[in-house]
Symmetry: C2
Subunit: 419 residues, 2 copies
């Protein structure tokens, strides 16, 4: 495995001149299409923050967040899963002074089954929406998936609808959430297309080559796509939501995994030239594959993660069989030396899904000391994930096409309830 | 002037590796953004046909055209102004067997005032529409002009509407003509956007570099634009016209100046891979500038052509003052040696606008022999152009915004009247 990663990193290093952002470090690759790390601890996020030029979320920001919103920061914030940001203070200023802003996140619908990793930005965004009580737009980049994958237009669009059901099942407030398919919405909103054009006019091939590593043999659709992911950052891309008179000045906060940052670095670069505010960002780490933290999960490898379509039995089997263990090789060794939470995938998953801080800390101590065995920590995780997935599947059943359409119809989204 | 052209050709030759189609010959440049020739006779069209790989329109095609349609070929066909084609025989087959097809042409709205050269493809297309009795779509590439020029989105859109008035004033049948602004239509027709995407997926940066001469410092909007000019070649880009069930199999004939051919070479290359028929083409030569045939006219240089907004007096003054003369330097010399119709701009203009073959031939003979003086041939032309422009201005007055909107509303276009 290490050899393969070495080869991959080396291979990609060859095009580092064309792709400085994607391959700067020798030991990790992070871009919207690939996340590879040589370290068993996974990606070095400090390096990433330095390279991308974002800011680590510190205790002062968490304290201010709590003070301004009156909400204890989400466990994914407290635990550093959302770890990096740009201009979140500015968004808190807006909240504090009751100025409008909105949330924007998205998904590239490339497969029927979404996995646990896909949930992270959505679970967090849903919480942000509840805390801030602001409109949320969710972009389904089916055009991107059509361009990048061996997918037909119709299939990409079908996946948008399937994935939208999973997203809706997480419980987004229909009165404050607009989900849109690029393939449908671009063709139904001239204002969106005009913002695409404005971004496309400001960004050269040289720039997307540098930011995304595109090459001369890439199709022109890929080359101009970044403008499409940029456009929803500007509120006047949604006249149906913010009104025909909106001039694009309503600020936006984008929760996303940090591999999406290149799109928004580009967007932030362009925004002032277009007279729009720069979107603020809040970045998450990557959800580790069952096999370990060296890579993101792959929707095409069913053993690499837990899918929202998995049965209770599959969840149990996968965790027991594939979840990389940081425990000792034998019970004796484990009791003696303890487990390593830093690389133990079951423990890592618990940091994402076990909300109870005290219980998590107890598990950490017990596993580290050897008191808790690998089988036992896996059992904890299996129980939590079985509940989560069962509950999800239950709710998803109620998401009919009609419900999906209600989320996907452009319409004014409710303003803050206290207004 | 020759020095300047030399410098320009040499300068552009430097990027010939990136742009083989645009700069192959040493003595002329022809691409959608630039037409430059070192010869005073203008562009060498034989060379162009060879380079572009199109077919010269020969007598056999004209004979067949007349036989199949029952119409004498238009004077611009008879006189070789429309001189080159691709697959026109195929379109005649369709007409003969009563299979549906449609016409597609367009305009990049970069200025308020259209000049005589802009009229050529439209006048000819109008005639084709009358002969064939088929639907016509006219694309206004305001997005292209926004990307290429120092224009705001709103201004490009305004120019679309101004230019549409001029086009409509030529007398297109509202029951068979759909005019659309890219900036409006792309945002109101998902099917169009999907065809854009399909083309964008098939064409690489290398290809557009070769075909159009784009470079690394061009903006990503320019790089992906060719897909937008390709999309109207496919009938299912217009479900409002050809029906929701249309699968894009209705063939298309594109009348245009030959500088637009690169777009459609690309389109023809891509079409079979998408399961669509290749668009057929019929190409015109360039309408010469008043100063001579070495370049196309420029909308930004008011002395380079007659504009549709010119007064009767302006027309007379411009022709008398600027129209390059192929006559002798003195009356005596002219009477003795005669005039040169090949370079005389007034005579060239008459070939475009004087429909009477016999009268034109008489003028040619008299001017060549020296019997007709430069002032006299200019007077003939002034009279014709004054009438044409006055009539146009009169008709344009009646083109209200309401009329424009009737052309620009997607709707089923009437089938052949004899069906």
């Amino acid at each position: 495995m290490t050899d393969q990663l070495d080869a991959k990193v080396n291979d990609l290093s060859l095009k580092s001149e064309a792709d400085p952002a994607a391959v700067e470090d020798d030991d990790q690759i992070v871009n919207p299409w690939e996340v590879v790390s040589k370290s068993e601890k996974g990606v070095d996020y400090d390096k990433l923050i330095k390279r991308f030029g974002s800011t680590r979320i510190d205790q002062a920001l968490l304290d201010r967040f709590e003070k301004v919103t009156g909400h204890k920061p989400h466990h994914m914030l407290r635990r550093g899963i959302f770890f990096s940001q740009r201009d979140v203070h500015f968004i808190l200023n807006c909240y504090e002074t009751k100025k409008p802003f909105f949330l924007y996140t998205g998904r590239g619908p490339s497969s029927d089954a979404m996995h646990l990793g896909h949930l992270i930005p959505f679970l967090f965004t849903k919480w942000l929406q509840e805390v801030f009580d602001v409109p949320l737009v969710i972009q389904m980049t089916d055009d991107e998936k059509f361009l990048w994958k061996d997918l037909k237009v119709e299939e990409a669009l079908r996946l948008t609808y399937e994935n939208a059901k999973d997203i809706i099942a997480l419980g987004f407030d229909v009165d404050k959430t607009f989900i849109f398919s690029d393939m449908e919405y671009i063709g139904s909103c001239p204002a969106f297309y005009r913002n695409m054009l404005k971004v496309q006019k400001c960004v050269t091939f040289n720039q997307v080559k540098g930011i995304f590593g595109f090459g001369d043999s890439d199709c022109i659709g890929k080359i101009s796509f970044p403008a499409i992911q940029a456009a929803p950052s500007f509120s006047n891309s949604f006249p149906g939501i913010f009104g025909e008179k909106d001039t694009g000045k309503i600020p936006c906060l984008i929760p996303c995994a940090i591999d999406q940052d290149p799109y928004f670095r580009m967007t932030r670069d362009v925004a002032p030239r277009l007279g729009y505010p720069k979107p603020a960002l809040i970045h998450s780490t990557f959800f580790p594959a069952l096999q370990g933290a060296q890579s993101k999960m792959s929707a095409s490898d069913p053993t690499s993660s837990i899918f929202l379509t998995d049965t209770q039995k599959q969840i149990k089997t996968k965790i027991n069989k594939y979840a990389f263990s940081g425990g000792g090789t034998s019970v004796e060794e484990h009791r003696e030396k303890g487990g390593n939470c830093e690389v133990d995938v079951s423990y890592q998953y618990l940091t994402f899904f076990l909300e109870d801080d005290e219980k998590l800390e107890q598990i950490r101590q017990d596993y580290s000391s050897g008191k808790l065995l690998t089988g036992e920590i896996k059992k904890e995780l299996v129980t939590i994930l079985q509940q989560l997935v069962a509950k999800h599947q239950e709710r998803r059943k109620d998401v009919t096409l009609e419900v999906v359409k209600s989320y996907m119809t452009p319409r004014p989204l409710n303003e803050k309830k206290d207004k």
